[in-house]
């Protein structure tokens, strides 16, 4: 395969252009002003590299390649255009898993063929195969969890030990493959089956709240797998692009874990609900005090400052358009309205901004945690809609709580706190919310969209 690398200068030149376009594209995507053009640059790079790859010397199976691209591309394009914005995180997981699977498939083709004799290349092919396979099956589990196909988090004693044993088994099988690269097909099959199993058993115990971190981690995994396979088959653009995503993805994973006050090891090796059960059963004092929409409307209409704290529940109820309509009414009355966004509001950092942008909320009304937290004290009303853990004061003071230490929005400091909530259950993470029981908190029960509609007509009637 290494002769490929010297063979067609034209292909190499176009790969170089592609690597350049990827880097410029990613750079442009990291600023809101240029972000839109960034994906176009990167997209152009992808088209150039793909077209050039048809001209590899000695390529066979061209019709098969074309058919596979058309089928895979068409399915992904249609699903990608149709998916609602709320489901973006699981779609990223799905597409990411496909990339990992493709990297593993490259390794599989190499290994079933008997591989090449270069040990460094062979070793990286095997390593990329493990990482790609784990990313593939793990991402599919993550997709299933976020999509609601897998409801429970499977946990049992000795789980980490079992995962460790599976990891060891993969490594032993991989080392055997590297030592004797012409090993039988059954060994290769066993290797991939165990690697896929590892992705499943690693991901199953992780709770839904931690999934964004896991998806981000698997994104970095796939990048690494692509880089390793690129080395194994002597493809420079795969090394560059894969490695860039590997390090960028690792950094994003760290940023997300930090925003949630969770270490990566904590996410991967300790089930989120383990301590949560104790806290959920625990010692929240007081009672839930309901309120009617008309009273909330009066409160907000005559307020000076209202801070809306949206959470994923708002987006699930498709209430963001109604909430923005409500806010526009308040703004017309002279109320100062802002949206407070927790770093992990929605299902990933930045997800809530996407959802609010979809509803047409302008940027200058959206504030992040650091900007807004000092201002809750001066706010007349904090309107919590669909958010839960990110406003739970136990994160500040209850050391036994699994979310202890997580930075939260200080909604409890507002003069009045209104919580729009469907029912009395606990949140996504299963932790009881002390905010709901405070003296200055009132509960407005109902579906997010219906409650927002009720508030709109009530404000109009004030």
């Amino acid at each position: 395969m290494s002769s490929l690398f010297n063979a067609a200068l034209g292909i190499q030149a176009s790969y170089l252009v592609t690597a350049f376009l990827f880097i410029v594209g990613l750079k442009r995507m990291s600023s809101p002003v240029t972000a839109r053009s960034g994906i176009l640059w990167a997209g152009a790079g992808m088209v150039i590299a793909t077209l050039a790859s048809f001209f590899f010397p000695g390529m066979s199976n061209l019709p098969l390649i074309l058919i596979a691209i058309v089928i895979g591309g068409a399915i992904a394009w249609i699903s990608g255009r149709r998916v609602p914005m709320t489901a973006i995180p699981q779609m990223i997981a799905l597409y990411n898993g496909m990339g990992g699977g493709a990297a593993a498939a490259i390794a599989a083709v190499e290994l079933y063929r008997g591989g090449n004799a270069q040990t460094a290349a062979g070793a990286l092919a095997v390593l990329g195969g493990i990482i790609g396979a784990v990313s593939f099956s793990g991402s599919l589990i993550a997709f299933g969890k976020l999509q609601g196909l897998i409801q429970r988090s499977l946990r049992f004693p000795g789980q980490n030990l079992l995962n460790l044993l599976i990891l060891l088994a993969v490594l032993v099988l991989g080392a055997t493959l590297i030592a004797a690269l012409s090993a039988g097909a059954s060994l290769v099959t066993a290797f991939f089956v165990v690697a896929l199993l590892l992705g499943i058993t690693m991901t199953l115990p992780i709770g839904g709240a931690d999934m964004p971190v896991v998806i981000s981690l698997y994104n970095a995994f796939t990048g690494l797998a692509v880089a390793f396979e690129g080395f194994a088959i002597g493809n420079a653009v795969m090394i560059v692009a894969g490695m860039i995503v590997g390090s960028a993805g690792t950094l994003l994973t760290q940023l997300m874990a930090k925003a949630m006050n969770r270490s990566l090891g904590n996410v991967l090796f300790s089930g989120f609900g383990d301590t949560g059960k104790a806290a959920a059963a625990g010692d929240v004092k007081g009672s839930l005090k309901p309120i009617e929409a008309a009273d909330v409307a009066v409160m907000m209409a005559f307020a000076q400052s209202v801070i809306v704290v949206p959470g994923y529940g708002m987006a699930v109820a498709q209430a963001q358009h109604k909430v923005w309509e409500l806010c526009q009414l308040l703004i017309e009355r002279g109320v100062r309205v802002r949206f407070a966004i927790h770093p992990v509001a929605g299902r990933m950092p930045g997800h809530m901004n996407v959802l609010l942008a979809e509803a047409g909320v302008p940027y200058d009304l959206i504030a992040d945690l650091d900007e807004i937290n000092g201002e809750f004290e001066n706010a007349d009303v904090a309107l919590i809609i669909g958010a839960n853990d990110v406003v739970n004061p136990v994160a500040r003071n209850d050391k036994s709580s699994p979310i202890y230490g997580m930075p939260i929005l200080n909604a409890d400091k507002a003069k009045n706190v209104i919580v729009i909530k469907r029912g009395q259950g606990a949140g996504f993470s299963g932790i009881e919310n002390a905010l709901f029981y405070l003296d200055n908190t009132r509960m407005l029960y109902g579906d997010g969209q219906a409650a927002a509609s009720a508030l709109i007509s009530a404000v109009k009637a004030v």
């Binding site: 960034g38 098969l64 591309g73 560059v240």
Partner: protein, 109 residues
């Protein structure tokens, strides 16, 4: 490609990725993750090479699945990233008071 040159490429690319991402505002984290997800769709060219060199039916079958998955990664990653970033632009150039501007295009699921 000699091993040491490859290691240089690995290292420089890793720094590049880190630098490019390091000053990104939180509002762009989701689109950027999606964008980097698209970039590793470049695995498509490797999958094409693998299928292009496959000979036995088993190799062809795996190679076919590889190309299919890789194309899904690249195309799907592009589709969702572009959709998200387009919305960001629309909200910047939004009509005054027009709350439903971005919703018509995005709500057609």
């Amino acid at each position: 490609m000699t091993g040491i040159v490859a290691i240089y490429i690995f290292m420089l690319a890793a720094f590049t990725g880190y630098e490019v991402i390091s000053r990104v505002p939180v509002i762009l984290h989701t689109p950027l993750m999606s964008g980097s997800n698209f970039v590793h769709g470049i695995v498509l060219v490797g999958a094409m090479a693998a299928l292009g060199a496959a000979s036995s039916p088993l190799e062809k079958a795996i190679g076919f699945v590889g190309v299919l998955l890789a194309a899904g990664n690249a195309v799907g990653g592009y589709a969702v990233t572009e959709r998200m970033l387009e919305m960001f632009k629309a909200s910047g150039a939004r009509r005054p008071g027009g709350g439903a501007g971005g919703s018509a295009a995005a709500g057609k699921h």
